[in-house]
Symmetry: C2
Subunit: 364 residues, 2 copies
């Protein structure tokens, strides 16, 4: 299977893009594909997935249902995902039939925090110090090596602060490992950083690379609250964030949009925290502030089209609307920003319900 070869002919207007996952990212990807005259088939295991409202065809089936996956793939000209935790078996079923991107290597790396950090350091890029923890003894040894405070994380399936525990002693580390039911974990040194940034970039089927300007990100309760562009970075640091993304994308032979989360240390050092092999919440501002958004550039890449401009015409601030923050839609609509509500049937605490982007004339 060779994705690039399969993509040597771009998917023409009228062709169908398959998207695994029907949440807000799938929804915004579907709308971006529609702008280009492409049809969309959404596959989700949820019966009322928000993306179903804006696509041509949808399938409701478990991600483990090979027959449904094959039937879905048969209707598509290219396939992608809205989330990185696609079961690797599902991904391989898809990839043997139709060009499927991001590729299996990118998914594998992003699905395992230890593999991810090992991959990043193998490229000569910096991360927080880390050690694998597979047993109670490892937990004790890892703490001795890394020192405290540190953060124990499950290697797989963590997001928005889930599967993470701050530990201040070897005993706490052991206890946290037990609380994770002894699943393979990783102990990461605690990084005293100035702020968090992220870079959203895109690599085309032909290896063409482009990056949006990096965003400065503010988290609340382990969920992204705001992204601000430009970030408080020097021109050199901005270039460095793009170089980091380019190195990662190139090494993965990546096709599509990827997000790289970074810690900016007080001395200016950039540490790679996480790779998201998909469109990224911290890139939602590109819908308003760029002529081609991260969503459209992802579709362009995985459909084999030329990439669109990643240039930013305005400064931007994106605010997530979490849970009840989305309740007063009339007040939100009157705020003067670009309002996005995700079509979720019910407001729940901690649920990403929408976002709003404000623009200002470009300052630099």
């Amino acid at each position: 299977m060779s994705d690039v070869k399969l993509l040597s002919t771009p998917v023409p207007p009228g062709g169908t893009i398959g998207i695994l996952g029907g949440g807000q990212l799938g929804r915004m990807l579907a709308m971006a594909a529609a702008r280009l005259g492409l049809k969309v088939h959404i596959y989700s295991d949820v019966a009322d997935a928000p993306a179903f409202q804006v696509c041509d065809i949808h399938t409701v089936a478990p991600y483990e249902d090979d027959a449904a996956l094959k039937k879905f793939t048969a209707t598509c000209d290219a396939v992608t995902y809205e989330f990185e935790n696609v079961p690797s078996k599902a991904a391989s079923v898809l990839a043997t039939i139709k060009p499927t991107n991001p590729n299996a290597k990118a998914l594998a790396v992003a699905q395992d925090r230890f593999d991810e950090k090992s991959f990043v350091t193998s490229l000569g890029l910096k991360t927080a110090p880390f050690v694998a923890v597979n047993s109670p003894e490892d937990a004790v040894a890892a703490f001795a090596k890394i020192g405290g405070p540190a953060v124990l994380k499950t290697r797989r399936l963590g997001y928005d602060g889930k599967g993470q525990a701050k530990v201040k002693s070897a005993d706490e580390c052991k206890a946290a490992f037990a609380s994770f039911k002894s699943v393979p974990s990783i102990l990461e040194g605690f990084v005293a950083f100035g702020f968090e940034a992220s870079i959203v970039a895109v690599r085309g089927a032909d290896g063409q690379f482009a990056a949006y300007d990096p965003a400065e990100n503010i988290h609340e309760n382990h969920i992204l609250a705001r992204s601000i562009v430009p970030a408080r970075l020097t021109a050199k640091q901005v270039d460095d964030t793009k170089t980091i993304a380019k190195k990662i994308a190139g090494a993965l032979d990546y096709v599509g949009v990827l997000g790289v989360e970074l810690f900016v240390q007080k001395d200016g050092t950039l540490l790679v925290n996480e790779i998201a092999p998909r469109v990224h919440n911290s890139g939602h501002w590109t819908i308003e502030a760029c002529i081609v958004s991260q969503f459209e550039n992802h579709i362009r890449a995985i459909a084999g089209w030329p990439l669109g401009s990643t240039e930013r015409h305005s400064d931007a601030m994106m605010e997530n609307l979490i849970g009840e923050q989305a309740a007063d839609f009339k007040a939100l609509a009157a705020k003067g920003g670009g309002l996005h509500l995700y079509g979720k049937s019910e407001i729940r605490a901690g649920r990403k319900m929408g976002h709003i982007t404000y623009l200002k004339p470009r300052s630099n």
Copy 2:
């Protein structure tokens, strides 16, 4: 029936907007509604209407099918149109059941060129000289009054230059009337204008009014080829275009987006040429150059939401892609603009297949 009263409660996210017509305008309206978390039900008499690809529900039925219209309307919280030639009977069926905008008066005025020009002049606004032509005798008398060259147009159902004939004598006027099968017509004095402009504005359910900056429009073969913003207008003329739109919208008790096409005479005089009670091709640039597009503002208005900003952050040029101009999608995608392809199944000569918008930093 009172539209404003019915809209006193805005349609909440999760509610359904009904749209009559499934072409590119319906499609872009549907995508704008989706941004706000609203669902869309498209009604079209065409089996593979482009807008079906991006909406939650669709109905294929003739516009004369009262039962289908009623069934459609029952699923919607508010109803609108993508085109002004909605059969007035269909419009009245809808309006008795759900808030339906633009209202019947706006449709009636826009559907008849004589009523339209009479309405415009009744507001103290200027148009080209015009006379109704209902008989061969009228044709002769009208030409005597208006003088040549003049343009005979059918009163109803004209668009993109169809149902129009330039006439240079009373005989030609009579012949043109006969060629129109003697349907009620209007003779308009030929206007030596400098260029054509248009203003796209929006009026909310509460009477709130906002206008985008006027565009300068270039036609080729009677079809819009390009819209450029800013237009070559003085600040005073820009204000005047907005005042014209406000007067028209107010007099119609209008809810939604409307486009007003204007002739800019060499001496600077603004003549009203046509009122489009819908989103307008010359407003497509607002998708890229404004934080809230004409499509979203139309949805906001007819759904009873607060209007969004009509401010322009950039200069813009929009180019229509007509027929074969849309064929080389790879080349178009590489042009650096915001590309829109409408999902039409077949390229045909003269058919609007897509458009592309280029931005530049705001010059004024």
